[in-house]
């Protein structure tokens, strides 16, 4: 019996170790890429038009879907909260609670997930197909550093555009919440606004924005890493894209927990007082 258990542990141990070492290897590869991005971002030439293009792709082209999603996320939260809070006769706090949830959590997380699914997948596919058709090698042969030309603008674009989109998410989310709470759930308009203003402060917005910046960095870095190192033909590009999206989702949600923990421990003003 014990022997059999030992055999099972033995058999599990190998794959487990392999999984662990593969994860560490991935982490190392991402850190290496980040280091290269920093190094090459500081070095001329600075290709502003390429950066602008990346910002348009990540930011402007994600805008419609962010608008749509934020409106409904705000609306559904207002709907749930107003009905839940009504049991305690506290529906006046709907605006405040939705606002808090939006700025701290929903806006950065949902925005990053939308951008990872849309722009992240797009970037992984684009870089992946550039890799397998040797376009990345071609860049290098023309004495242009591929990390500087391809990865740097995308990562900077992510760092700049995800917080901006998250800001838009906040505003439109509040509009959605207002429409539902005030327009449909008969929460008093003045109280909705007053409580929202009272509870929300710059600290919450900073928290959300810092998260958005970090998520923007993580998701573009993951997408570029996967695409840049794709191999194995068209199938390899598909694998890279899937990994980029799944990897970004997991990373965003895990990072979110730890960032929140760190924030609440070190930077939060206690809202009860």
């Amino acid at each position: 019996m014990l022997q059999r258990l030992a055999a099972v542990v033995d058999r599990l141990w190998g794959p487990l170790l392999r999984l662990l070492s593969a994860s560490l290897e991935q982490l190392g590869a991402h850190i290496m890429l980040l280091w290269n991005v920093v190094r090459w971002a500081l070095r001329p030439p600075y290709r502003l038009s390429v950066l602008l293009e990346a910002m348009v792709f990540i930011g402007v082209e994600s805008l419609p879907i962010v608008l749509l999603i934020s409106l409904f996320v705000g609306a559904v939260f207002a709907l749930q909260l107003s009905s839940a809070l009504r049991t305690f006769q506290a529906e006046a706090f709907t605006g405040a609670t939705v606002g808090l949830a939006l700025t701290r959590e929903l806006a950065p997380v949902f925005t990053s997930i939308v951008v990872a699914a849309r722009a992240g997948a797009g970037m992984a596919t684009e870089l992946g197909s550039m890799r397998i058709t040797e376009q990345i090698d071609a860049l290098a042969t023309m004495a242009v550093n591929p990390v500087q030309y391809l990865v740097v603008p995308r990562v900077i674009g992510g760092i700049l555009m995800v917080p901006l989109l998250a800001m838009v998410f906040n505003c439109i989310g509040m509009v959605g919440a207002y429409i539902v709470a005030v327009g449909m759930q008969n929460v008093d308009r003045g109280i909705f606004m007053e409580n929202a203003r009272w509870l929300l402060d710059p600290n919450d917005i900073t928290q959300g924005m810092i998260k958005a910046v970090i998520f923007g960095l993580a998701l573009t870095l993951i997408a570029c890493q996967q695409g840049y190192n794709a191999s194995g033909g068209a199938k390899g590009v598909g694998v890279a894209t899937t990994r980029a999206v799944v990897g970004s989702f997991v990373t965003i949600l895990v990072l979110d927990y730890f960032l929140t923990d760190i924030w609440l421990t070190f930077f939060s003003k206690n809202i009860q007082n």
């Binding site: 040797e134 071609a138 290098a140 042969t141 004495a143 242009v144 550093n145």
Partner: protein
């Protein structure tokens, strides 16, 4: 007799005869030992052809020449300078002397034909700008204006017999032959001193093949550039090659003028060349044949 590189010769000096000298290159991918000690000399201003079966590592040799891959061991001297230990910055300096035409052209999908052709000029400016001012300060390369770039792209298209309407098209809209010629135009604008061609005629019809061959020859003659060509096509190899080197089992087994290769007693090479029917080998006595079996991927040497 099997070809042997010159030994005891100082290859770290610039030589008028040899442009690139490769010694002892080894490369392993995982457990797959692809290059097993490549010794190869590239003749300056000549058309050098490398032949060998699929998957033998011809493209891998090219990528080493450009510094895209680092060998596990060995050295690559370009004009007497070993490029193996160079970092990104050093490699970029060397790469500006190289032009490469990839097997499938590797044009940038997201750019138009015009933007593809002038890409390197936009990035690096005028390659003919003197490196320093009269007082010795470093001089940044002159930037081209939009209309200059347009004129250069047009000139390149005309030179390679491509219709001017292609300028505004994207690579996906071109035929295979057109793509290769655009790829060549893109490599030529920087006025390279060495041009690498990875299977320039594979997948082209006979007429396009002849056109590409003529193009390679005229580029080589006109600009005096050193050409290195990877080829499967024996007819064109023997038509345009000044030197031919054969890659087999991760080594260069023969290297010399085409007429010399015709005399080879290497069994595999004789079959490889003769099978196409385009080139006839000189007869060799059966007893002198060298029969070296092909090592399959992953096996020890």
């Amino acid at each position: 007799m099997p070809w042997k590189p010159e030994v005891n010769e100082d290859i770290s000096q610039r030589s008028d005869e040899w442009h690139v000298r490769i010694r002892g290159i080894n490369k392993t991918f995982g457990t797959h030992h692809v290059l097993r000690g490549i010794d190869l000399d590239i003749a300056r201003g000549k058309i050098n052809v490398i032949i060998g079966g699929s998957g033998q590592g011809k493209s891998v040799i090219m990528k080493h020449l450009m510094g895209l891959l680092k060998p596990d061991a060995g050295s690559i001297f370009v004009d007497g300078e070993d490029i193996v230990p160079l970092n990104d910055v050093g490699l970029n300096r060397v790469r500006k002397q190289f032009g490469m035409l990839f097997q499938y052209a590797a044009l940038f999908d997201s750019l138009t034909v015009e933007e593809n052709i002038v890409f390197a000029l936009v990035e690096h400016g005028d390659p003919t700008t003197p490196e320093r001012y009269a007082d010795g300060r470093r001089r940044p390369p002159r930037r081209y204006s939009r209309s200059e770039l347009h004129d250069i792209a047009l000139e390149q298209l005309d030179k390679l017999a491509l219709p001017r309407v292609l300028l505004r098209k994207f690579p996906a809209e071109l035929s295979g032959g057109q793509r290769k010629r655009v790829g060549l135009a893109r490599a030529l604008v920087m006025k390279p001193r060495i041009l690498l061609y990875d299977e320039p005629t594979t997948g082209l019809d006979p007429v396009s093949t002849k056109n590409v061959d003529d193009m390679i020859r005229s580029v080589s003659r006109e600009h005096g550039v050193t050409s290195v060509i990877i080829s499967h096509d024996m007819a064109s190899t023997f038509r345009i090659g000044d030197r031919v080197s054969a890659l087999y089992n991760g080594r260069i087994i023969e290297s010399g003028p085409p007429d010399e290769l015709r005399k080879s007693n290497h069994k595999w090479l004789r079959e490889f060349i003769a099978t196409s029917g385009a080139v006839h080998m000189d007869p060799v006595a059966e007893a002198d044949l060298i029969d070296e079996p092909l090592v399959t991927a992953g096996a020890p040497p």
